[in-house]
Structure formats: C-alpha cells, structure tokens
Symmetry: C2
Subunit: 221 residues, 2 copies
C-alpha cells in the first residue's frame, strides 16, 4: 500500500505541525505502508519565529524545501506526483494548512486553495480513495470539495470553533464534534479526520488519534 503524506512546511505556526507529521509517518511505517511525502513547490505565506510567535519580515522560505526537513530529503513536489499511484492521502495539520495550502488564516474575503492541492484531494475522492485529515487540515479537504456536490463529514474538534463554523457555513460541509482520542469517518467519501492539536494537550494524546486515523485510512483503502 502506497500512501501520500501532504505537508505544508515545517513548524506549527507557518507550516506542518511537526509532531502530527512525524506520528503520521511513524504509524504508516508500523503498518508497513510505503510512504510518499509530498508538498507544493511554493513560497510560504509567512515565516514565524517559533520562539516569539512574531512574523520574521523580509524572510522567504519555500514550503517544499522546509517540508523536506521532516522528510529527511525524501519528498516530491505535488505536481511531480502521479496521484494514480497513491492508494490514500493524509494531510497532517499545522498553520501551513491554512496559510500555505489555503489562505483561510488571513481572513481574506475570498478563501483560496492551492490549485495542485485541490486537484490532488479531488482526484483522490473521485477515485474513491481515502483521505485522512488531521487537526485543522479537514478545512483544506472541505475547501477542495466546496464547489462539488459532495457534502463531506469532518471534524476539527469543537463545533463552536471558528474553523468548524466556517466549514459548516461557508464550505457546505458537515462538522461533527469529536474528542481528541476519536476519529470521524465519512464512510461514503472515505474521509477520516481527528482533532489532534486542535484539542490535544500532549503529544501522547495526538498519538492516540493519529494511530486510529492511519488504521482507518488503511482499512478504507
């Protein structure tokens, strides 16, 4: 089984959440999956100093190059990946999902999604292959499917959360409230989601949800 892992940089505030990405790779490896790590070859929207949480002005970093840190160099640009070769796709969370893959974090009037990311998610869903989405990434999946007839069932944890409200009201998806150790499965569209650091207070909690998500994604494949 060959599973794509779509990253959005390297760091919770401007890229992929590192713990979520690494635990995804860990559980895929434990299940003997072949893994293809993927990221769009685009500039990061921002670079955030993770010590102070301030934006570092005038510094540019590339999503693919930074995500390569998590991948130990073994990574492909989204447009170089043949989606037909993938049995499933998983998106870890982190602000990169809503800053680089989409621009949701910036609250602009029009929420946009990276076209290659949208195409990859859409192709997976249309091919009836599972997509797993962790933390805030279900918003990316909902955005990719927003202009279709699909009504995905997803979770980002708490239904009162702004992102959950947005998913329901603006992206015409169904948000399902869940806890940190749960997954939400959309059996029809083969979507699996878990809140991870949207709710987690420790990496051990994140681990429980991601282990379940990886298992469900494999079962649906």
């Amino acid at each position: 089984m060959r599973i794509g892992v779509l990253l959005s940089g390297c760091g919770v505030y401007d890229g992929s959440e590192i713990h979520e990405a690494v635990l995804t790779l860990l559980h895929l490896a434990k299940q003997d999956c072949e893994v293809e790590i993927i990221a769009p070859n685009i500039l990061q929207a921002q670079v955030i100093n993770h010590l102070t949480e301030d934006e570092i002005e005038r510094e540019n970093r590339d999503v693919l190059v930074e995500a390569a840190r998590i991948a130990r160099g073994d990574i492909q640009a989204v447009d170089k990946v043949d989606t037909a070769q993938l049995d499933a796709l998983i998106l870890p969370g982190g602000a990169g999902a809503i800053k680089n893959l989409t621009n949701y974090a910036f609250g602009e009037e029009e929420c946009r999604i990276n076209p290659q990311t949208k195409e990859m998610i859409l192709t997976m869903v249309e091919s009836k292959k599972p997509v797993g989405a962790i933390c805030i990434s279900p918003l990316v999946v909902a955005k990719a499917l927003a202009d279709t007839d699909y009504t995905p069932r997803l979770t980002v944890g708490c239904s009162a959360d702004e992102a959950a409200q947005y998913i329901e009201k603006e992206l015409a998806a169904t948000h399902v409230e869940s806890t940190v150790d749960e997954i939400v499965v959309d059996e029809e569209l083969k979507l699996v989601s878990t809140p991870a650091y949207m709710l987690a207070e420790s990496i051990a909690e994140v681990d429980v949800g991601i282990a379940k998500l990886v298992e469900a994604v494999i079962e649906l494949s």
Copy 2:
C-alpha cells in the same frame, strides 16, 4: 520526573533529527514525564537546503529559534535552565549535534564543544543523573567528558564508523558496537545510547530504540 531534552536545531542536516526528537518527546509523554526542551542560544553553523543537501550561503538561522519549531514554542535557552531541577537529560541526534553543539562535522584540527552544553552534560554526570544520547549525540557526551577521568561506554552503532573510531581514539571513551533496536547502558555513569538513524532504515526502527532508551533513562533516575 522532569527530563531535559537538548536540541540542536530543526532538521537532520543542520540541526536536530526531527523524528528522533519527536519520538523522544512521545515516549517521555507516554511515561508521564514532565519535559523541559532546551537548546543553546547560538547561530547555526550552517543552513542546509534539505531538498538538495546544499548549503544555503548567506542565510543565518538560530539554533534556539529553529529548535522551537519542534518544541511548539515551549523551549528554554541552555543558560536559562537550572540543571539541578532536571532528573535526567536526553540528546536526540542529527547533524546539529556535530555542527552546532560540537564542530566535529567540519573536521577541524581542534574539536570544540559549546561550553554551556558541556557544562550541562558534565553537571548531570557529576550529579549521578542519567544522560541519554541518540544517533550521533553520544559523540557530544564523550566530548563533554573527554577532559575528565570518566571513561564512558557509548554506542553510535557500528564500531568501524568514523565517529566510533573518533570516540575511541580521540575522546578516550569506549565504543560498544550495537544494532538499531538495542541500547547500550553505562551503569556506572548512567549513560544510555542507541544508534537510531546511524543505522535505521525506517522511522519504525528508530522508534524501537528510542522507546528502550527513554525507559532505561527513567529506570536509572
């Protein structure tokens, strides 16, 4: 139990190996340890593009600021940490250990170690508190103890490896050959080491060694 995790940046080629760092945090959390993530507040020796493995000239990054990505911002500078408050210390691997914590990677005539790192390791050993060292980091521990009467027993995996030879011949430590799923324990000095990505071919293999290392460090505390 309060365990320090000493990082050296964020990325296998110029900082901490991310998988090793995250799996250390995971296993400490699973064992209900309180964790203090630490890094020296110094410039990285290099910035490496992890996609191409080339050095990015004229770019400076800070070890503490980049390590904060792995720590999700919850990190302390080495000189701000009261070592007396720590029950044990663990050093994940990655080239940062031999580029930032020491300069071993650059093959200069004199191998130097960051003074704060040396002091922290030495204080732990003198206080009879355990130190765990993963991947190439046992070289840092051996270097910290090189001018003392201690003769640490450590592993970086294969005894034919250049770093293992250096540990034996130049740092007057004892290198013990080991496999990826093993740990080497120096009962007297309370040092625990495991080869991780010095030998590992997958993150699942790294996980086995680090789980054992964390367990042994806690037992020795």
